[in-house]
């Protein structure tokens, strides 16, 4: 509700005599991007002011990735959307028809200015000796993962484990399925979002391993102190593309297309990429990446497209009664 009000505010301002005044952009984003845009927005404002002499105001709205997409579909006046999976922006294109379905081709790198990947976070000293995905299926290891039905974060973890099992010697779909089922048998709590899972692991002290984004690990370090946990990089992981797009219907109505497009393009500039790296998001820019290479250990990665793309994955794995639901039902019976 609050977000709606905030969305209305600039609209009201624009409709009054202030029309020629500062352009206002609303960036609708997901939960853990808060810190990044807190740093990025001032950088962009400075750049825009220097380039055009205009002031631009950027407002932020944060929440779970899919609920945020739903708000946009239902009319939240977002100029730009910055999500954690392509399927959320696809939904805005298909259900809301607020932007063209080929949105991902309008910007470089599949419209993802930076990436992250799923890492394993363990307790100090790694008492259970966790080194790779297969350690997570051992009996007696408790793994905290957000619910793949409600969180993109959980979906990436599920897919990372699935891909790991597929790529093992002699790996096939049946084995991948058994592997993921064994993994989810070790999950004691399914939080609805990534931040919830972090709280369960760090604050409630539940579980031996938390699987989450690499940049969330940095947030945990800042919030809870670096001495309380260790980050384990698995032998292979999934590259999480974090896509962005302009919402055409809104910017054309508000007349903010120029600012909105530039706001996103600037994410690829050396300055934008540096802010990303400082927030532990893996930059696309090779020079910036090289500069911060120390904090990004190299991990063998596969992508969502290697597994068939979000649309096929949704139908195969996450829709109702698809593989994830079948696994969950079978696991519940075994208990």
């Amino acid at each position: 509700m609050k977000t709606r009000l905030f969305a209305l505010l600039p609209a009201l301002l624009l409709s009054s005599h202030l029309v020629q005044a500062d352009a206002t952009l609303l960036n609708v984003s997901y939960d853990v991007m808060r810190d990044f845009y807190k740093d990025y927005n001032p950088a962009f404002q400075k750049y825009w002011k220097g380039k055009t002499g205009e002031k631009v105001v950027v407002q932020q709205s944060h929440g779970g990735s899919s609920p945020q997409a739903r708000s946009v579909i239902e009319g939240l006046q977002a100029d730009v959307v910055t999500m954690n999976q392509h399927s959320d922006i696809d939904a805005i294109a298909e259900r809301g028809k607020q932007l063209p379905t080929n949105w991902a081709t309008r910007l470089p790198n599949n419209a993802s200015p930076f990436t992250s990947l799923q890492v394993l976070i363990v307790r100090k000293g790694n008492p259970k000796g966790i080194k790779d995905w297969n350690d997570l299926t051992r009996p007696g290891v408790n793994v905290v993962i957000p619910n793949p039905k409600t969180a993109g974060n959980g979906r990436y973890t599920y897919l990372a484990a699935w891909g790991y099992a597929l790529k093992q010697p002699g790996g096939n779909e049946q084995k991948a399925r058994e592997f993921v089922a064994a993994l989810f048998r070790n999950v004691p709590v399914l939080d609805t979002g990534g931040r919830g899972a972090t709280t369960t692991f760090m604050q409630r002290n539940i579980g031996d391993v938390l699987v989450t984004f690499e940049n969330e690990a940095e947030m945990i370090a800042r919030e809870f102190g670096r001495g309380r946990f260790e980050v384990v990089y698995p032998s292979i992981s999934i590259e999480a593309e974090l896509p962005v797009s302009v919402v055409d219907k809104v910017v054309d109505k508000k007349g903010t297309r120029k600012q909105a497009e530039e706001y996103l393009k600037y994410l690829w500039s050396p300055e934008g990429q540096t802010v990303a790296a400082q927030n532990y998001l893996r930059p696309r820019d090779k020079a910036v990446f090289a500069k911060y290479a120390k904090q990004f250990p190299s991990v063998k990665l596969f992508t969502v497209n290697d597994l068939g793309g979000w649309k096929a994955i949704g139908q195969k794995h996450f829709n109702d009664r698809a593989i994830y639901d079948q696994i969950a039902a079978a696991n519940a019976k075994k208990k």
């Binding site: 899919s66 939904a91 039905k149 004691p188 399914l190 002290n205 539940i206 039902a329 696991n331 519940a332």
Partner: protein
């Protein structure tokens, strides 16, 4: 009763018209939108959505946990109301005000606070761990948070005021003469309570129970933080509705919502009938 019957109070047509309009706008319109939206679903799809084993398990949990919570509040809520009405002690006002806190607190705050308390490392939860006070006494760990037990705890918390606040005024209005008469006729304390007091407050108790139960069924915010949300085990129905929305499955979400609506309405109706019946029975007796 006919509509023509003249009343001593003027303005019947106007006030009835307003009542119907208001109820229609505030209650009926959104609910009919819900049913209307579900009508876009084929019967077979509707049925397979609402009879999915995982959804059925969530009905069982939601209605079961809500029933237990409302039942416990029926007993302990009555006790609280009784103490607040019948005794006077220092700090009574404060306790009276505290009863309303679950009303006022944002449910998410309640959920996080409860999860912190009852988690295995929380103030209360740690005593139930294997090496905790109560855990050692019983020889095993009892998990409170992240189990159905945690859900019941959250529901007890949020539904307590309903029983207390409906019973309290009736207890206050209870005529002391009735009890005195019963006593002078030789009734024991227990007989006075069970034969005189309980029948009088019974309708109010039932109302409180119904309100608490209805509130608990719809509760989402506080429960998701303490439930653990495991499929088939600790997933409440409102969570499944949200997770359907998360997948942009509006129809599936409304289908489950309609089932909950129908079930809740049926139950409230039964409780209202029961209440009407007891009131009538009592009315005849006195």
């Amino acid at each position: 009763m006919t509509f023509k019957k003249p009343s001593v109070l003027p303005g019947f047509n106007l006030s009835l018209g307003y009542t119907l309009f208001y109820l229609g706008l505030i209650v009926l319109l959104p609910l009919s939108a819900l049913v209307y939206k579900t009508a876009g679903l084929e019967w077979a799809d509707f049925w397979s959505t609402v009879s999915d084993p995982r959804v059925v398990a969530s009905y069982r949990l939601t209605f079961g946990a809500s029933f237990i919570a409302a039942l416990l509040n029926l007993v302990f809520g009555l006790l609280v109301a009784w103490v607040l009405v019948r005794y006077s002690f220092p700090g009574k006002r404060l306790i009276d005000a505290m009863v309303d806190l679950p009303f006022a607190l944002p449910t998410a705050v309640a959920g996080i606070a409860l999860a912190t308390l009852y988690a295995p490392n929380g103030w209360i939860g740690k005593h139930f761990a294997e090496d905790g006070l109560i855990g050692e006494l019983l020889g095993k760990e009892i998990k409170l948070a992240f189990t159905p037990l945690g859900i019941v705890i959250a529901l007890i918390f949020i539904s307590l005021p309903f029983v207390v606040r409906t019973v309290q005024p009736v207890l206050e209005d209870l005529e002391i003469e009735l009890e005195e008469a019963a006593s002078s006729l030789g009734a024991s304390r227990w007989q006075i309570f069970s034969r005189v007091i309980l029948p009088t407050i019974w309708p109010a108790l039932l109302t409180g129970f119904a309100l608490a139960f209805a509130r608990a069924i719809g509760e989402y915010g506080s429960v998701v933080f303490i439930a653990g949300n495991m499929p088939m085990e600790s997933e409440i129905t409102p969570l499944l509705i949200i997770s359907k929305l998360e997948q942009f499955d509006y129809l599936g979400a409304t289908a489950i919502a309609v089932v909950m609506l129908a079930a809740s309405f049926a139950m409230l109706l039964v409780i209202n009938l029961l209440q009407w019946w007891t009131a009538k029975r009592l009315g005849r007796r006195t």
